[in-house]
Symmetry: C2
Subunit: 327 residues, 2 copies
């Protein structure tokens, strides 16, 4: 099929589905029916089934002036993978819903799928179905990811006395977003030694990673809305309070350098920026982990405390979809 | 929480999620974690798991000038249920993705959920999760429905000699759509004895119904794109041909009356209209079923034949998302 540079209007929905099918042939053995029937069919495993769903809308969650379609597809599946990791699970089956403006080119969707498939292959995820339709104005991505877990970790098991950990430095993604906005154009190849490049890549192509051993973890969440909001989610669900040690929040050198250049406070970006897709979890203070200890769970109240003992209350501030972005 | 008439911008994403959660408390016992964590968790059954996904975009799939939010929610879950029935399955768990324009009222979303929950309750479906975010212009609905089946029926088992059946008269939905377009306003209460009202209700609030006994069924699909397209899907997947008996395609009296009034051919509407959400299936000619026998599977070719033996080839014409509507 001569899909190259075809307008989608010529390709038609069924032509596009056939093209997508041809890209998605590596299904795991538990998939009985993949793309192309009324529903996909899988043989359930003995473990618990996890299901997460994320929608990304052009002009709200991404800006096509500074992301390529490949990067967008990569991030789209990454944010879903991150949710499965946040439950202590393994991602397995992905369902893609696309709303495509009629003047898009078939190559755009091909690139989008190449990004999705890149990370899908890395994590051995099968693309098993979806729905493709036209949209009026904006590109719309809606993903549902199924996974499984022997032992599920929710947001609700944190207890006073637990320590709070994060798996990676925070704020790089938000700083990268700020740099991309200023720059206003796409990056096709990231310069490996550039400070700005590293931050922008973290925003455009996040790399979710699972926590290897969750046996002592009492609660977990992925940091998508921002540290302060996501700690607050744990507090709400576990009915506890939290103290964050100000100087312990891990900041990358890249963030420090670029925030200084822009006259911004790197800690503020790390606390409120969001889209980190690192894991935040709680567990015993003496846990053997390579994660950063950034605070502790208390009975009541939410505070940031510095090394001199200055304590300030915090609110769940950060990015919230129907409100303003705070960074 | 005083959600009534609140603008969503004041309610915020998390406030809205709490409101939605309060509406979705009747979970079946296999749901370990519902809405409000990073992912939902279910205990898998022994049967096969079915997954289907559908996206509905304002201005493409629905028009808010002639559907209420309650009707829209009802139809949204109905089209997903229809896909699970088309595989011979039972719908069980629904995940809702919403992209909501910022100036919408909380009551709109409340009404949307009342429509979703009405049909969910009827079919004992648990609402287990989703993603709610803002959209720039249009309301976007993305649903993923999980179900299960002991015996899955796909599109690919039809054999020459099988008869073709449909479970309900066709074309009512497309005729109803045409009437709604002319009328251009909402119907809050359907007049039970009005011919037009019955057709419009079929379009706005379709009632998917399962096929009770699928043991002899060789292939099945739900009629969403239109009879000719959906028969063609069966032919493509099963590598067979089909003959449709022109006079056997079931037409309601309401369709005949209103098509005549509008100077339209009711059969053409039934063949190409789509959105019927009836089931089309194949099986032995002597099958015991209350469904309408409308044709037979042959080795090759696709024809409509009338009672005098006039045979014309048909193409998969009807509604296709990136092309024009043919009715």
């Amino acid at each position: 099929m001569p899909v190259k540079l075809n307008k989608l209007a010529q390709l038609g929905e069924f032509g596009l589905i056939k093209h997508i099918q041809s890209q998605c042939k590596n299904l795991s053995s538990d998939v009985l029916v993949g793309i192309g029937d009324d529903a996909a069919v899988i043989v359930p495993q003995k473990n618990k089934t996890l299901i997460t769903s994320d929608m990304m809308i052009e002009g709200v969650h991404f800006d096509l002036s500074f992301t390529t379609f490949h990067q967008l597809g990569y991030k789209f599946i990454a944010v879903n993978i991150s949710d499965i990791f946040a439950m202590g699970g393994t991602p397995e089956h992905f369902i893609v819903g696309l709303g495509i403006p009629p003047n898009f080119k078939a190559d755009n969707i091909k690139d989008l799928y190449s990004g999705i498939m890149k990370l899908a292959k890395k994590h051995k995820i099968s693309l098993i179905g979806g729905d493709t339709c036209t949209s009026k104005n904006d590109l719309i991505l809606s993903g549902t990811l199924l996974g499984s877990a022997k032992q599920v970790v929710t947001r609700s098991g944190a207890k006073a006395g637990d320590s709070i950990y994060v798996t990676a430095p925070l704020g790089d993604s938000a700083m990268g977003f700020s740099l991309l906005e200023k720059r206003g154009k796409k990056i096709n190849k990231f310069h490996p030694s550039s400070t700005a490049s590293k931050l922008m890549k973290t925003h455009l192509m996040p790399e979710p990673a699972p926590l290897q051993n969750t046996s002592k973890v009492t609660s977990m969440i992925d940091i998508s809305d921002g540290l302060l909001i996501d700690v607050s989610h744990i507090c709400d669900k576990s009915r506890v309070g939290a103290v964050i040690y100000k100087e312990s929040v891990p900041l990358s050198n890249e963030l420090k350098v670029m925030a200084k250049k822009s006259g911004m406070d790197p800690l503020n970006i790390a606390l409120k920026g969001g889209e980190d897709y690192a894991l935040l979890f709680t567990g015993p203070p003496n846990m053997k982990t390579s994660a950063f200890k950034i605070g502790e769970i208390i009975n009541k109240g939410r505070y940031i405390i510095d090394s001199r003992g200055n304590k300030t209350e915090f609110k769940p501030e950060g990015y919230e979809h129907f409100k303003k972005i705070n960074v």
